[in-house]
């Protein structure tokens, strides 16, 4: 009893420490912030003989006291751009991308752990609870090694900035001085919390202590998310500066500098993106282990692990295009020419590649689910209709990837009779593309519904009505999405943009209503057969690996697009890039660079996985129905 009470006290103290660590940066930074600003403003006032100079915020249009130096006007030379005998930008690109990959991974995995640990805590099946707990522990163990790499890569990134772009970094750190200090303190808090969370796992395995442990994961994720928000404020500032005047002088309001036009959309997009990416990486890890497994028990475990990771990743992938749409809308609202450069101009072809990658992600997901139906008896009744889903996906995909600006020879251009193809040109605009992606997502939802009911037959009295209702609901959803996509051509652009709302609402209605209805219908359903974990085709696992590779490739691509949309600006319209590399790379060079980054990441993450496997400990799990490694039974994880 005494020991238990001691553990409780220890846990509560640990949790309090974490909350304290979370608040520490804010508490420490507040007074320094205030003092810093006053001193700075005071200094400026003294120099100007008590005359306070005021400036106008370039974004918020408010007046503020000039509290910083103007953005430096750099020149091509060793002072502003010291270099080796090759393009400095490529080195920075590489360091940045690798740091971002690992940063995303270590931010996403603790969120997974939190979800999986929670599932383990609330599930009534003790064997399954243990399995979930072990899975979450395995995840965090992997993330711990990746965490060190993230920090190392962060250091490399800062050194690269300091040594190759000193003037720019000096300006940026001058503006973000307090934010960077808070960031550093948050990093300390994140590290402390992560170590307590990881090393306290065994001590807080049961009962009340487990809830305390789970709460720690919440604190850990809050810190991680705030860290990311702070880092996002820097890139948000570079794209859409605020809180400075036209010369780039800081006007004393740090919130304006952080809260730029694109900060919130970037935050949302990155959270969802990180989660989808993390899910993909873990799913690929499980797929690799599945393919390398020697025993049925291992295959069953990794099949299950891959399924869970894929489901979590896809859960965040589905809203990702909508968050991306919001981001682009805000980009257009901020600067029209930036939006056109992205989607209709210089970078438009990269967006077509991005659309292709998004399509591949959804194709892989659907393919995996169809393959997964093969491991449950009774799912055959749905399999013969898969060809129609393939057709719907293909139509949505084709529309989604049709370029507005087609690549062609002058002879083809002449044969076509103009730059716009009268038939396919219609697929190249936003109205059609919204329709395309919504058809793809709705079809993915339908695949999920089929998977969830694959080996079950509803026994509720209203089953027939429910099935007809679901069928009609999906048919109406498809009709509505396609109708709105066509209707979009006949209305003003500002109304057309608004049409995306009912389209998205239709897709999300399918997701939420149909999942809910299906769950009600499948309560107490008759089992047609068991889910035989591990008895899935190897093709499904390659689909998971493809999914993860597409995620990493797309992340690097979008990072490049977001960064290169500034064209020849370090800070858009404030600080010009006067280095010899202030031009946009060719699509081919960018694609090669992205591929090199992806390859390097996968090689290093394999090393991380290998390190994780060195300390792997076998936890005996009692055999019980429904979980991998035991007698195959229907999946309880739906």
């Amino acid at each position: 009893m005494g020991l238990l009470a001691g553990k409780r006290i220890f846990s509560i103290v640990a949790l309090c420490m974490m909350v304290g660590l979370l608040l520490l940066p804010v508490v420490v930074a507040l007074p320094s912030l205030a003092i810093g600003e006053e001193t700075h403003a005071g200094d400026a006032a003294k120099k100007d003989g008590d005359k306070v100079e005021k400036g106008r915020d370039v974004y918020y249009k408010t007046e503020g006291i000039v509290s910083g130096a103007p953005a430096p006007k750099t020149t091509d030379g060793v002072k502003d751009y010291p270099r080796y005998n090759f393009e400095s930008r490529v080195l920075l690109w590489f360091a940045n991308q690798q740091h971002l990959y690992y940063g995303s991974f270590v931010l996403a995995v603790p969120i997974f752990c939190m979800i999986i640990e929670f599932m383990g805590v609330v599930t009534k099946d003790k064997a399954l609870a243990k399995r979930y707990d072990q899975l979450a522990y395995d995840f965090i163990k992997i993330s711990l090694t990746a965490y060190s790499l993230t920090a190392i890569l962060g250091g490399i990134l800062i050194f690269t900035f300091l040594t190759l772009y000193p003037s720019f970094f000096s300006y940026l750190s001058g503006i973000f001085r307090p934010v960077m200090h808070i960031y550093a303190l948050m990093f300390v808090a994140e590290s402390g919390t992560l170590y307590i969370y990881y090393y306290g796992w065994d001590k807080m395995r049961e009962g009340f202590l487990k809830w305390i442990h789970l709460s720690m994961s919440v604190v850990l994720n809050v810190i991680g998310t705030l860290l990311m928000f702070l880092a996002n404020s820097w890139i948000g500032f570079m794209m859409s500066p605020a809180g400075v005047d036209e010369q780039g002088r800081y006007l004393g309001n740090i919130w304006h500098v952080i809260h730029t036009a694109l900060w919130n959309p970037l935050n949302l997009h990155r959270i969802l993106g990180n989660m989808a990416f993390g899910g993909g990486v873990v799913a690929a890890y499980a797929a690799y282990k599945f393919l390398a497994s020697k025993t049925d028990e291992d295959r069953a475990h990794y099949d299950w692990m891959g399924y869970i990771a894929m489901a979590l990743g896809v859960a965040f992938l589905i809203p990702l295009p909508f968050a991306g749409y919001w981001l682009m809308r805000e980009v257009y609202a901020y600067r029209q020419q930036m939006g056109i450069t992205l989607m209709g101009g210089l970078l438009a072809w990269l967006f077509i590649i991005q659309a292709t990658m998004i399509g591949i992600l959804f194709l892989c997901t659907n393919y995996y689910l169809w393959q997964a139906m093969g491991r449950m008896r009774g799912a055959e009744k749905y399999q013969r209709y898969i060809k129609y889903l393939v057709f719907l996906l293909a139509c949505g995909f084709v529309v989604f990837i049709t370029p507005h600006t087609m690549v062609m020879t002058p002879a083809e251009l002449k044969a076509m009779g103009g730059q716009q193809h009268p038939v396919l040109g219609n697929f190249g605009v936003m109205s059609a593309k919204n329709g395309g992606i919504n058809v793809i997502i709705t079809t993915t939802v339908l695949s999920f519904v089929w998977y969830m009911r694959g080996n079950k037959v509803s026994t509720v009295s209203w089953a027939k009505f429910g099935n007809i209702f679901m069928g009609v609901f999906f048919a109406c959803a498809y009709f509505n999405i396609i109708f709105l996509a066509v209707y979009g051509y006949y209305i003003p652009a500002n109304v057309r943009v608004g049409l995306s709302v009912p389209q998205v609402a239709t897709t999300l209605s399918c997701l939420f209503f149909m999942f809910a209805l299906n769950s009600f219908m499948m309560k107490g359903a008759k089992q047609m057969g068991a889910i035989e974990w591990g008895k899935i085709s190897a093709r499904s696992q390659y689909a998971l690996i493809m999914l993860a590779t597409a995620f990493t490739w797309m992340m690097a691509l979008m990072g490049y697009i977001r960064s290169s949309v500034r064209l020849f600006w370090h800070v858009n319209e404030i600080m010009r890039d006067n280095s010899p590399w202030a031009y946009t790379h060719t699509v081919g060079f960018a694609a090669n660079m992205i591929s090199a980054n992806v390859l390097f990441f996968w090689i290093t993450i394999l090393f991380v996985f290998w390190l994780g496997s060195l300390t792997a400990k076998k936890v005996p799990v009692e055999s019980k129905a429904g979980i991998p490694g035991s007698v195959p039974q229907p999946a309880p994880s739906h």
Binding site: L346, T405, V407, Q420, G425, N426, A493
Partner: protein, 345 residues
């Protein structure tokens, strides 16, 4: 079910006969026309009809004990797709886009034939049979492939590497990003916020709704709305300025951009690419009026770097027209095509 499948089979046969006939010029290529305004959705519906038709055909063939092996079904469907894209859609689709569609087609055929284990086994059976070479025929085929495949790969490689005298592919940016502001006749216009000063109601107040309500009907007819005839001398405000814009258009622009604003004017085909087709939903319908104002004022010579290879011969009209005349021409173009300019509210 059987009746439905029979109907499907009938559609399949009729579709294939028509496509074959149109491909080999046995029946006129416009037997089933692509209807303007509905072409994109018509295209998808036609392919959907073929899918239904093939399903029916497959069902009927199975019922008659003449089922086509899954391997040939897959290959056949992909070939159909390629033929359809090449010969059905006019004007011809550039190779790059057909290659993209072909790849998607190949991937989806693979997804279909390997969606479950049974289908996958059926699909790969002929390949395995040739590889195993248990019969004389398969053994012969294996030798044929052994010789043929390296020759084909070599041929493709040679063809790809061989220097060509064709004009290179162009990745032209049709709508390059405009500058934040543009200076015309000494006055600076911010493109994000400027408005067409002639988009006004009869009382002379700026009124987007009023002008939107008076554009021509979209579609083939392009009919004027009742009581919205710009050539009616009594009309004031927006419609009066549309008339004035029209006069300027027909004095200066229609020689290249055409009477119907579809880029097929008297001189259009002297250029490659031909002038922009304003009736296409991918041109002015996607842009702010200020974008058009900038493009008209500065012409092809004023295109920014990313507009490379600057394949535009449009003159910088600021040298010939006043600012007011340019705004009125822009007004007329939107009115005539029935499109609304992009706005950000």
């Amino acid at each position: 079910m059987k009746a439905l499948m029979s109907l499907g089979a009938l559609i399949g046969v009729a579709g294939l006969l028509l496509l074959g006939g149109m491909t080999f010029d046995v029946v006129p290529s416009n037997t089933v026309r692509l209807v303007e305004g509905y072409m994109p959705i018509q295209l998808l519906l036609e392919v959907a009809c073929f899918v239904i038709g093939f399903t029916g055909l497959s069902y009927m063939a199975s019922a008659m004990g003449m089922a086509l092996p899954r391997f040939w079904q897959g290959i056949g469907f992909w070939i159909f797709l390629m033929v359809y894209l090449k010969y059905r859609v006019y004007p011809p689709i550039p190779f790059s886009v057909r290659a993209m569609y072909g790849t998607v087609g190949l991937v989806t055929v693979f997804m279909w034939v390997s969606a479950n284990e049974e289908d996958w086994n059926k699909f790969k059976q002929p390949i395995m049979n040739v590889l195993d070479a248990q019969t004389g025929m398969n053994r012969l085929l294996r030798y044929v492939y052994l010789v043929l495949i390296p020759i084909l790969v070599g041929g493709f490689s040679f063809n790809a590497m061989m220097p060509k005298s064709e004009e290179p592919i162009e990745l032209r940016t049709v709508h390059p990003a405009p500058p934040a502001s543009t200076k015309v006749h000494g006055k600076t216009y911010t493109l994000q916020t400027s408005q067409n000063p002639y988009r006004v109601n009869p009382e002379g107040k700026y009124d987007q709704e009023f002008s939107n309500a008076n554009i021509v009907e979209q579609g083939m007819g392009r009919l004027m709305k009742p009581n919205a005839n710009p050539w009616d001398e009594k009309n004031q405000g927006y419609l009066k300025y549309v008339r004035e814009g029209g006069e300027i258009f027909f004095q200066n622009c229609h020689f290249c951009h055409g009477d119907n604003l579809n880029g097929r004017g008297l001189h259009a085909f002297a250029f490659n690419p031909i002038p922009a087709n304003f009736t296409d939903p991918g041109t002015i319908a996607q842009l702010q009026e200020t974008f058009i104002f900038w493009r008209v004022s500065k012409g092809g010579i004023g295109l920014p770097n990313e507009g490379f290879p600057w394949a535009s011969v449009m003159p910088p009209w600021e040298q010939h027209l006043t600012v007011d005349e340019i705004w009125k021409v822009v007004l007329f173009e939107y009115w005539h095509t029935g499109y609304y300019p992009r706005t950000w509210d």
